[in-house]
């Protein structure tokens, strides 16, 4: 709540002409916006471009932001819309990881990974790898729920879905993430977790 209040105070300052204060808002939210963009785009360069574009759009539309809502939810909505527009424009391949080609890619990646000796990696690295292998929507929901401190209603607002749909999707996303983790870690998943 304090963070939210501070966001609103910073926004007020920007609206009052102290535009340099916007840099503080950017610094505060850049990691999350970038991560969210990366979940959709699966490419660091594109994610950085989209994340920067989000902050520019948010700045231009800051006057229309209803200060009764959380700034983060509003910003994540912009991120989702911008990432989707970028995907549509660039016609990136965002097909399901369950597709045959994607499975092949995953298998190759795992075997290469095994050859390097995954026992040296910690569980965080495996988790981050597993989440990149999820569908964009699943990865975004997991990220918003666990790292964005967003409620189901707020995630629904961000992704333009009903809270009940988000609840079902979150459940499936967790199951898929668990499967990916187990696939990556095989029998060592329990030990590492």
């Amino acid at each position: 709540m304090e963070q939210n209040t501070t966001d609103l105070a910073l926004i007020q300052k920007v609206l009052n002409g102290e535009t340099d204060q916007y840099a503080l808002l950017v610094k505060r939210h850049q990691r999350f916006v970038f991560t969210l963009a990366l979940r959709f785009l699966k490419n660091r360069e594109d994610a950085e471009e989209v994340a920067q574009d989000c902050f520019v759009k948010a700045y231009k539309a800051l006057g229309t932001f209803k200060q009764t809502a959380k700034f983060s939810t509003w910003l994540y909505t912009i991120t989702y819309t911008t990432a989707m527009t970028f995907l549509r424009k660039n016609r990136l391949d965002t097909t399901s990881i369950d597709d045959e080609s994607a499975v092949l890619q995953l298998e190759n990646q795992t075997s290469a990974f095994s050859a390097n000796g995954y026992e040296k990696q910690d569980s965080h690295a495996f988790l981050n790898m597993a989440i990149t292998q999820l569908l964009p929507d699943d990865a975004a929901i997991i990220t918003l729920f666990y790292k964005g401190e967003q409620s189901l209603e707020e995630i629904g607002e961000t992704l333009h879905m009903e809270p009940n749909t988000i609840k079902v999707k979150l459940h499936r996303a967790r199951q898929r993430l668990k499967e990916k983790l187990q696939y990556l870690l095989k029998d060592e998943v329990k030990e590492l977790l």
Partner: protein
């Protein structure tokens, strides 16, 4: 979809009401399989909570600030809307309603009854209730209603 796993996740997320919470707690206590599943999901939940956020490039903030430097400074919507425009629109509607009311009354051919001491108390009321009179009455009500709504909204704004 209300599998035991879903119920366990809801329990971990704290989304269950008191009765459902007690029911799932009893299941966890009484069933070793469910308890093991619960422990596994709890550990997964802790692991998911520890997920890392990715870091953008070092120049991220600078790039954003350079991109917005030429953009016009954002202004709150409240200050963007000129009050004169609001008053102009309001005035236009009030004038329109009053003109309409005047036109209706002018065309209703109202005539005042002759004043006399021989007051006939047995007059028929229904002869005065014509559609024109009704419309005029409704228009008048509408104008009064709008005036009161305006006063109410002004008070509400002033309270803020």
């Amino acid at each position: 979809m209300n599998t035991i796993e879903q119920q366990l996740w809801d329990y971990i997320d704290g989304k269950l009401n008191e009765s459902s919470k007690k029911a799932i707690e009893e299941k966890i206590e009484s069933n070793a399989g469910i308890k093991a599943q619960y422990e596994e999901l709890r550990e997964l939940n802790s692991a998911f909570n520890a997920l890392d956020l990715d870091e953008p490039s070092m120049s991220f903030t600078r790039n954003v600030m350079e991109s917005i430097v030429l953009a016009p400074a954002p202004v709150a919507m409240k200050t963007k809307v000129d009050k004169k425009i609001i008053y102009g629109i309001g005035g236009f509607f009030v004038l329109s309603l009053l003109s309409l009311l005047g036109y209706v009354i002018y065309n209703s051919a109202l005539s005042m009854p002759k004043f006399g001491f021989n007051t006939n108390l047995n007059f028929r009321v229904d002869q005065y209730i014509t559609p024109t009179v009704l419309y005029s009455f409704l228009f008048f009500d509408l104008v009064v209603g709008l005036v009161f709504l305006d006063l109410f909204l002004r008070k509400k704004v002033a309270q803020k």
